[in-house]
Every structure is written in structure tokens, then in C-alpha cells.
């Protein structure tokens, strides 16, 4: 397991290259290749389970409705059509507006970006304070916060309406951003607090000795060392807020409705003719934004300590 550490990584890569280049080698090398077969084999088999529904969705989204009615969900489309995709993005009607998903796209961006930034900023600082600068009573509030993670959203709908009304934020964008930050807080705070707790204490102590203060340590040491957990937080929040439908419709007006309202309207009509291909295309289109975020931010999944915040 040497290659798990970065210090050894380069040397190890060289060894592995040797192993691949050479013929059947001695024991450790053979173990390495058998190990690789095991690892990649497992990953590929598991990937199939994850990709099967995705495959069905893509295939269905490329078929025409008559073909879907024939009922073989696994068969590839006989005649590929991109019409469902075009329809989902630009033509599907929700009530009077036949602009498909494109209509709510910018609203979703306007909601998601500030909400994600705000909620992560609050929660990471909060988690840092809880992990490294504990003060009296903090545990009680933190426990309440964790409790909050278990409250079904729907139960809180009406009290929040009253709260927003009293604050004068009801119906606008800021109110919605606030709601997202509030409901993101329990899990995110827990995420950051526990991550910061698991970091070696020596780092913090050394920085204190060097005279760094609350914010100094946060920005210079904790932030760079916790990139992976920030990625997890971004994944959580982007997904959650981008896909949110309930808060979007309950706390704002039609001017601010996010894309998921259109998605819901395309997908969720109960008593109309169901266009499965357009449904699938619309779902995949809506999922593209989080997907891009996953893929791009994935580069930040580095080993925090090796990323080199503090050496020695």
C-alpha cells in the first residue's frame, strides 16, 4: 500500500511502469497486476449497476413515442431522434410558456450560485469554530443543529413562511437563498466540523505558536488542507439546490421559478399523455449542470496534507 502516499507515488509509478513493461516478474509485481484486475474488475462491474438506469434513460430519450410503446426498454433505438431533447430544452410547454427548460435556466443559476457560496462559507467557518475554537454552550447548539437535519422539510414550510414574512423577505430571491442556507447548515456544519476535527492537531498548534489568529489559520491552513471536503460540500449543495423544487415554488413568485419547476411540469403531469422520451431528456438535461460540477471539481480531490499547506 506504499503507493497510497504521495511521497512514494512517483517512484511507485516508475515501478508499475517497469512491471507492465517486463515479462512475468517476481511475486510482488504479479500481486500488483492481480490487484489491478481485481480493482478495475470490481469498479467496472459496479459501474454497470450505476450506468444501467442511465443507459435506459439515454436510449429512451432518443426514441420516438411509438417505439417506446412497444415496450423493450433495453433495446437501442431503431431510429435515433434528437427531437425529445430539443423539445425538452426549447419547446415543451408549461402552461403558456413553450420555452422548455431554457426558461428557468438562468433563474436556477441565480438561485444556486449565491446559495451555494453563502451556505458553504457560513458552514465552513462555523465548523472551524466548533472544531478548533470551542466555547461554552457550542455543543448544545451543535446538537440542536444536527437534530435539525432530521426534520422533514415539509413540516417546516409554514413556520418559515411566517419567518420570511416578518423579515420582509418573502417572495424574493434573498428569502430563498436564506432558506437554502438554513437547511444546508446542519449537514454542512457537521461535515466541516468533523473534518477539521480529524486533521492533525499539531498543525493548528504550530500555527498558534507562530502567532496566527482565528481568520489567519482558517484561510492559510484549514482552507487549503480541506479541499476534498469542500468538494463534497459543493457536490452536496449544488445538487440539492439545483434540484430543489419545493422551496423554489413556495417561497418565490413565477418570475424567479427555477428550472426544476419546468422539469416538474414536463415530467409530473398526472392526467395528460406522458411523453417518456421528453421526460428522460429533460431529466438528463437538468442533471447536466451538477454532472459538470462533479467532474470539474473532482480534480480537487487531492490528498489534503500533501497539497502542502504546512511542511514540517
Amino acid at each position: 500500500m506504499a503507493e497510497l502516499t504521495l511521497n512514494y507515488a512517483q517512484g511507485d509509478a516508475a515501478t508499475r511502469a517497469d512491471a507492465l513493461a517486463g515479462p512475468a516478474g517476481p511475486k510482488p509485481r504479479r500481486a500488483l497486476s492481480r490487484r489491478n484486475i481485481f480493482i478495475y474488475g470490481t469498479l467496472i462491474v459496479v459501474s454497470m449497476y450505476y450506468l444501467l438506469p442511465l443507459y435506459v434513460m439515454i436510449v429512451t430519450s432518443l426514441k420516438g413515442m411509438p417505439e417506446i410503446r412497444m415496450g423493450n426498454i433495453f433495446s437501442p433505438p431503431v431510429e435515433i431522434t434528437f427531437e425529445p431533447w430539443v423539445k425538452a430544452w426549447a419547446q415543451a410547454c408549461t402552461g403558456l410558456n413553450c420555452e422548455g427548460l431554457s426558461r428557468g435556466f438562468w433563474n436556477s443559476v441565480r438561485i444556486t450560485v449565491p446559495s451555494v457560496v453563502l451556505s458553504i462559507a457560513i458552514a465552513s467557518i462555523n465548523g472551524y469554530a466548533l472544531a478548533n475554537w470551542r466555547f461554552k454552550g457550542a455543543d448544545i447548539f451543535f446538537t440542536i443543529l444536527i437534530f435539525g437535519a432530521f426534520i422533514p422539510y415539509q413540516v417546516m414550510l409554514y413556520p418559515i413562511v411566517i419567518l420570511l414574512r416578518e423579515m420582509g423577505l418573502y417572495g424574493g430571491l434573498y428569502g430563498l437563498i436564506l432558506v437554502h442556507s438554513i437547511f444546508g447548515m446542519p449537514i454542512l456544519t457537521l461535515l466541516f466540523r468533523n473534518y477539521f476535527t480529524s486533521l492533525p492537531e499539531e498543525l493548528f498548534k504550530a500555527a498558534r505558536v507562530d502567532g496566527a489568529g482565528f481568520w489567519g489559520i482558517y484561510f492559510k491552513i484549514m482552507l487549503p488542507m480541506s479541499l476534498p471536503i469542500f468538494v463534497v460540500a459543493i457536490i452536496l449543495q449544488v445538487t440539492g439546490i439545483w434540484n430543489d423544487f419545493l422551496f423554489g415554488v413556495v417561497y418565490t413568485r413565477p418570475d424567479y421559478y427555477p428550472m426544476t419547476v419546468q422539469l416538474n411540469n414536463i415530467v409530473n403531469s398526472v392526467q395528460g399523455v406522458k411523453e417518456y422520451n421528453v421526460n428522460m431528456a429533460a431529466t438528463l438535461l437538468t442533471g447536466l449542470v451538477p454532472l459538470v460540477v462533479y467532474f470539474v471539481s473532482g480534480k480537487l480531490f487531492v490528498r489534503g496534507i500533501a497539497a502542502g499547506a504546512v511542511k514540517g
Binding site: 410503446r69 410547454c93 408549461t94 402552461g95 403558456l96 410558456n97 413553450c98 415539509q154 414550510l157 409554514y158 413562511v161 411566517i162 420570511l164 414574512r165 418573502y170 417572495g171 419545493l246 415554488v249 413556495v250 417561497y251 413568485r253 413565477p254 418570475d255 421559478y257 419547476v261 416538474n264 411540469n265 414536463i266 415530467v267 409530473n268 403531469s269 398526472v270 392526467q271 395528460g272 399523455v273 406522458k274 411523453e275
Partner: protein, 412 residues
């Protein structure tokens, strides 16, 4: 915000040129009509409304009660109500009306003579509380239909049934031919719909009204109702092999002849039409299961929350009057596939099944929907019971009826 101001400004200039009946303003309308045909129908309302110089701001949200209710109540209690909203009429909005949150439309109704033109009158009754009218019924949808596949019965070598009993009698033949006699989606609302239909079709209008309206537990315990539960038991075994979820998948089984029939509302017709089937040739429709030819006058209605803004209130009045005007009624209902709420309009474009519906309507064989008669809470308990019964063969018809009697006795 800028967008809103802009549209308001645009609306204002438009009004100057067209010179509408009152000050032009935009009005946000919430509804859950989002699928193709439904959206086209709503567009008729919006077109007519915009023509008066106002502007229709569309707030379409798919998914009826469960989604619409939290939105409405949040918006109203949050102090930012919409201009108008679709809602199931009848008992469900009672509380909002009692709390003084809904606008009294009586003056508009009197000015436009709604009492005379709305047919059947019960539609307006369910919009009425303490003599005042609070909502505008816009269409009639009925659930009491049995849709039958001609192909399935041909394959099984039996004639297409003309009523429920013949259908039950034909079931074994259908099964021999490898068909599923009764197609039924597994979603609970479909099973409860079927039960409501069985009650009114087999036990008759009076029993239905006594049970759902008067909450008469004795009728619920009567032998007539025992027959209904037996029929439900038969339906249960006829649908045992039906394994789809959505109602339209079940309809598709009828269209392709894999299943003999389906109990579903008049919206199922859309699926037959899309599949290119012709009523009377490829499929039959039996209102009231062919036994008691009644249809339910449920449907959709619009409510108008009380607004502080006078201009918007005036626009509300315009919209309310417009929704019941003859031209708009015809245009809307043809697109929607539902029946108009005015007896004095012509629907030439209606197909066979719609005409059957219109006939029954004209004869006055109509019932109110359970929504109009019973509180949503009690209704849910009835529905839960039947859904449980339908999916659990260890509950006998007698047991189910006993529990039904208990629920009816404590219902409100």
C-alpha cells in the same frame, strides 16, 4: 422586479391601444394544467384575458393537490397571494373561505347570471358557502367510465360486454386467451377511483349520496354495499396480474388488447386518440360501467384570493366573468377534452364518448364528486381502506365493509 415592472408597463400601453373594460394590469394565475392538451386549453383562457387588455402571468405547477396546496397557503399567509388559482372545489377550500382569504364573487355572478347558465346547478352549489359564491367552475370531468378493448374480446371469442356483469362473466374467457381482464395501475389513487366508480355504478345514486353526503352508516352496511364489495373482490382478482404503475400504461394495455378493460376517467380518451383508435370500432366506453349511467360533475374551479390592490381586483372580476362566457367555455373545453359547465353551448366537435357524456348530463343523471361531499380527511381514510383491501387478498369483502361502515360513521 425589473421584469415585473416592465411587463406591467407593457400591459399598460397595450391597454391604451385596445382600451379594455377596466384599467389594465397583470394577474398571476396558478394552475396545474401542464400537459400538452391541458396547456393548450389554458392558453384559451389567457388569450381571451389578454384580449381584454390585461396580462395573464402564468404560474403553472404540475401535480395537483399535494403541490398546489402548500403553494397557495404559503403565498396567501406570506402576504403575497396570486391573482387567481385553480383548486378542487367543494369542501377542500372551505377553510380558506371561512378565514376570509377568498374573494366573494357573488356580485359578478349576479351580474352575469351564473345561476341560470351554469348547468348542472350543483357545480355552483359547491362554490357556494352561506349563500355567497366563491369560485368559478370551468369544466366537468367524469371518472365513471369503463374502457373496453374490442381486440381483447375478439381474441377471447366473446362479444364486447355492455355492462359490468357481462364483463365479469367474460373474465375467465379472457384469462384463457392469455389476457388480463382488468387493467389497473398500482398507484393508490387509481384503485380508490375504481372503488368510487363501483359504489355509484352498482349501488346507485341514492346509496352514493347517502354514504358520501349524509355519511349514513346504515346504508354503508346494507346488502347493496355488500354487492359493491363483492364486485370489488372480483375486480381484485381480475386485476391480479396487472403489473403496471401509471394509469396510461394500463390504458396502453387496453389499447394493445393485452387487457380487456380499465376503469378510468374521461382523460383516458386522450391516449386512445393518440394511438389512432376510434370510439365504437376499436374501443368502447361505458359510462357508469353500463349499469347506472351517471357521471360525476367534478371538475376544476378557480378561486380568487382577496387582494389589496384595486386594479388587480378589477382584473380578477374581468377574469372570473370571462371564464364562464360561452365562447371561452367552448374553446377551452374542446381543447381540454372535458364538458362545458354551460348547458347552452354547442359542442359539435365532440366525439362519441364525449357525446354520451353530454347526453347523460342533459338527462341530469349526475352526482357530485366525493370531494364535494366529504372532507378530504375522511375521504383519504376511505381511499386508504380500499387500497389496502385491493392489494391484500387476506382481507375479505365482509371485513372491508365492516371497516368501511366504521369510517363512514365517524366521517365528516
Amino acid at each position: 422586479m425589473r421584469y415585473r415592472l416592465l411587463t406591467a408597463a407593457l400591459g399598460a400601453t397595450a391597454a391604451l391601444t385596445i382600451s379594455g373594460p377596466s384599467q389594465a394590469t397583470d394577474l398571476e394565475v396558478t394552475h396545474w394544467w401542464t400537459s400538452g392538451g391541458e396547456a393548450a386549453a389554458v392558453a384559451e383562457f389567457a388569450k381571451a384575458f389578454d384580449a381584454t387588455g390585461h396580462k395573464w402571468i402564468d404560474g403553472a405547477i404540475a401535480g395537483s393537490g399535494g403541490t398546489a396546496r402548500p403553494i397557495m397557503i404559503s403565498r396567501i399567509t406570506g402576504g403575497d397571494p396570486m391573482g387567481a388559482t385553480q383548486f378542487n372545489h367543494g369542501r377542500q377550500a372551505e377553510e380558506l373561505v371561512e378565514a376570509g382569504l377568498m374573494r366573494d364573487l357573488t356580485d359578478i355572478a349576479e351580474a352575469n347570471n351564473w345561476k341560470e347558465v351554469v348547468h348542472p346547478a350543483s357545480l355552483l352549489d359547491s362554490c357556494t358557502l352561506d349563500g355567497k359564491i366563491y369560485c368559478v367552475p370551468v369544466n366537468i370531468h367524469s371518472q365513471q367510465w369503463l374502457w373496453l378493448s374490442h381486440k381483447a374480446f375478439e381474441d377471447a371469442g366473446v362479444p364486447v360486454p355492455t355492462n359490468w356483469d357481462e364483463f365479469v362473466a367474460a373474465a375467465p374467457k379472457l384469462e384463457e386467451a392469455g389476457k388480463i381482464p382488468l387493467a389497473m395501475g398500482q398507484q393508490p389513487w387509481q384503485t380508490s377511483l375504481a372503488f368510487q366508480v363501483l359504489v355509484v355504478a352498482l349501488a346507485g345514486q341514492d346509496a352514493y349520496n347517502k354514504i358520501y353526503g349524509d355519511k349514513d352508516a346504515e346504508v354503508a352496511a346494507s346488502p347493496e354495499l355488500a354487492k359493491v364489495f363483492e364486485a370489488a373482490d372480483q375486480a381484485r382478482s381480475m386485476a391480479a396480474k396487472s403489473n403496471v404503475q401509471d394509469w396510461n400504461q394500463a390504458t396502453n394495455m387496453v389499447i394493445t388488447g393485452q387487457a380487456g378493460g380499465q376503469i378510468m376517467g374521461d382523460w383516458a380518451q386522450g391516449e386512445f386518440q393518440v394511438a389512432g383508435q376510434v370510439a365504437g370500432e376499436d374501443y368502447s366506453c361505458l359510462p357508469g360501467l353500463g349499469v347506472n349511467e351517471v357521471i360525476q360533475t367534478g371538475g376544476d374551479a378557480f378561486y380568487f384570493p382577496v387582494l389589496a390592490d384595486e386594479e388587480k381586483s378589477a382584473a380578477q372580476a374581468d377574469l372570473a366573468a370571462l371564464m364562464l362566457s360561452p365562447e371561452v367555455q367552448v374553446a377551452f373545453n374542446l381543447k381540454k377534452g372535458s364538458l362545458p359547465v354551460r348547458g347552452d353551448v354547442d359542442l359539435d366537435a365532440a366525439n362519441d364518448c364525449m357525446k354520451k357524456g353530454l347526453d347523460i348530463l342533459a338527462k341530469g343523471n349526475i352526482i357530485q364528486s366525493p370531494d364535494q361531499l366529504m372532507s378530504a380527511d375522511s375521504l383519504t381514510r376511505v381511499n386508504d381502506l380500499f387500497v389496502e383491501f385491493f392489494n391484500n387478498t387476506s382481507i375479505t369483502a365482509e371485513d372491508a365493509q365492516k371497516r368501511f361502515v366504521d369510517i363512514v360513521a365517524s366521517a365528516d
